[in-house]
């Protein structure tokens, strides 16, 4: 069985009175792919932020590549090391790139940080090639590129650090369906080529099915169901997962309109 590259135990995050994440355990194996599913506000993104170190957990532990990262990093070397273990691709391709930096400059900055700039422009061109962008697009500023192209750059930038795990935080949610499919195919190809592991955060069950093996379902900060993606989507056990599954529009689907209390006694 492949090694565990990312493990979280008893993860908890409080914002004052609000408990955003409560007692969450998760595990990602080398080359594996875990989906975190749930409605908005269920704590999915908070988990991602805790894993990459953008926010500190209130309790619990996070171990990536055998090293604890529960506490904030204290040195530049530690920050770089953590960056080369876990990376993240954000949801919004319009705000996740510096508007003043071209794709090549963005990649070059990461390459210099993590690989010392030894491979120079060749590594940047290889990364652009990996995500399907040409040299002209690599020299363009983000405002000259489409949402899908920007998200490809964000993926390339995450991969430039050669991470073992990439967190995809609703990374295709802001794209239209055809571009979503392209990006998902690209992610599957990259996983096959590089052996990177994914943590896919999504509320879109179709996306989850396409690229993940395992899944956990979150509701109000807690994990309500876990298992293989196929089992959770095809035979959900928990009531909330069943509701989530049933809420996906499908051919012939007619949503039941609930009557408002004030309409109850109104004449037809």
């Amino acid at each position: 069985m492949p090694d565990v590259v990312l493990e979280a135990r008893g993860l908890r995050k409080e914002y004052g009175e609000l408990v955003a994440v409560d007692d969450v355990d998760l595990e990602v194996r080398e080359g594996g792919s875990l989906a975190i599913v749930g409605e908005s506000g269920s704590g999915k993104t908070t988990i991602a932020k805790m894993i990459v170190g953008l926010t500190a957990p209130t309790a619990g532990s996070i171990v990536a590549c055998g090293r604890d990262r529960s506490a904030p990093s204290r040195s530049a070397r530690e920050r770089r090391r953590r960056g080369s273990e876990v990376q993240i691709v954000f949801q919004d391709p319009y705000s996740s790139l510096d508007p003043r930096q071209t794709a090549e400059q963005a990649l070059d900055e990461v390459l210099r940080l993590h690989r010392g700039g030894r491979q120079g422009g060749r590594a940047a061109r290889e990364l652009l090639d990996l995500v399907g962008l040409d040299e002209r697009q690599g020299r363009a500023l983000p405002r000259a590129l489409s949402g899908g192209q920007r998200q490809r750059i964000a993926i390339a930038r995450a991969l430039a650090a050669q991470p073992r795990v990439v967190i995809l935080d609703e990374s295709v949610a802001a794209l239209d369906v055809s571009i979503q499919a392209q990006i998902l195919n690209l992610l599957a190809d990259i996983r096959e080529e590089t052996g990177v592991s994914y943590v896919l955060i999504s509320h879109d069950l179709a996306v989850v099915r396409q690229i993940t093996d395992e899944a956990i379902v979150m509701h109000r900060g807690r994990v309500v169901e876990r298992g293989s993606t196929a089992q959770i989507l095809d035979a959900p056990q928990d009531e909330y997962t069943q509701l989530l599954r049933a809420s996906v529009p499908r051919p012939g689907w007619k949503p039941e309109r609930r009557r408002r209390p004030e309409d109850q006694g109104a004449p037809a």
Partner: protein
């Protein structure tokens, strides 16, 4: 620092009129020409002045323009045109120093407040709110009382007084940028706070820094001229446009307004040009966002 203030001095309607004028491309070109000429004179004025600006001859007191003396003489018989040319240096470089110092302090406070947030942000806000309570002129008077009259003390006092205006506006923009995901991506990559701020955060608020700087330049020029006018800035007989407005007062009363008028017109021309250009840059900045 909950609200975004504007540079002091203009009412809403006046500001709207200024913005309408500043929106014109031709006006911007004229402003640039006026500023370029003023800068050139500030740099080479001393070298090209036809006469010694401090050489007085009471026989020439209030003598009008002639072939060798384009603007005539002041009350002490000094060549007015030469004094205007030489006075440009302190009149232009003084406000420039004020703006540069205020920008350095303001940008530093704004970026630290936006980056650290929490109690650091609150502490900087309180300090800025306290500084807001002191008008620039009052601080300059205090500085003159402590360090003695002169341009350095006045410029330092005004820089301190202008810092909160820069800090408050920039802090709002920096907080907005700080929340964007490319900043978070830099943190996750392992970039240091200094690298993220200097390579990403500051360059992305730079247009606002430039437009605020140009707007404040006009106010600094007027305030420094006022400080020189009340005798606490540049000291006579050194030529300075503010000093010239002040020393020309007796001439105005005697029907010889050339000294006050020429220096005053130079101040107005540069201030209007810089303010209109600042408004133009602000507009462009807003349009690009």
């Amino acid at each position: 620092m909950s609200t975004v203030p504007t540079v002091p001095g203009l009412s809403g309607a006046a500001r709207r009129r200024t913005r309408a004028i500043a929106g014109s491309g031709k006006v911007a070109v004229v402003c640039l020409i006026v500023i370029a000429v003023a800068l050139l004179v500030a740099i080479i004025g001393s070298a090209v002045a036809p006469h010694d600006p401090n050489a007085s001859n009471l026989n020439n007191s209030f003598v009008g323009p002639s072939a060798g003396h384009l603007l005539g003489f002041d009350s002490q018989g000094r060549d007015l045109f030469s004094r205007l040319l030489v006075g440009a240096r302190t009149s232009i470089l003084g406000p420039a120093a004020v703006v540069v110092l205020a920008l350095i302090a303001g940008v530093l406070c704004a970026i630290v407040a936006a980056w650290r947030g929490g109690w650091v942000d609150s502490a900087i806000s309180v300090v800025m709110d306290i500084l807001f309570a002191f008008p620039g002129i009052l601080l300059a008077v205090l500085a003159a009382a402590v360090f003695g009259p002169g341009l350095t003390a006045a410029a330092l006092a005004l820089a301190v007084a202008y810092t909160p205006y820069i800090a408050r506006v920039l802090r709002s923009a920096a907080v907005r940028e700080r929340a964007r995901e490319y900043i978070a991506a830099g943190e996750v990559q392992g970039l240091s706070a200094w690298a993220i701020c200097s390579r990403h955060l500051v360059p992305n608020v730079a247009p606002l820094i430039v437009s605020q700087g140009t707007l404040l330049f006009g106010y600094a020029m007027v305030d420094l001229a006022a400080i020189s006018f009340i005798g606490l800035g540049v000291q006579p007989p050194q030529a300075d446009w503010g000093v010239m407005v002040a020393t020309g007062q007796p001439g105005v009363l005697q029907g010889y307004p050339a000294e006050s008028l020429s220096a005053g017109l130079c101040i107005v021309a540069v201030v209007v040009a810089v303010n209109l250009l600042g408004e133009r840059l602000s507009q462009r900045n807003e349009e690009q966002r």
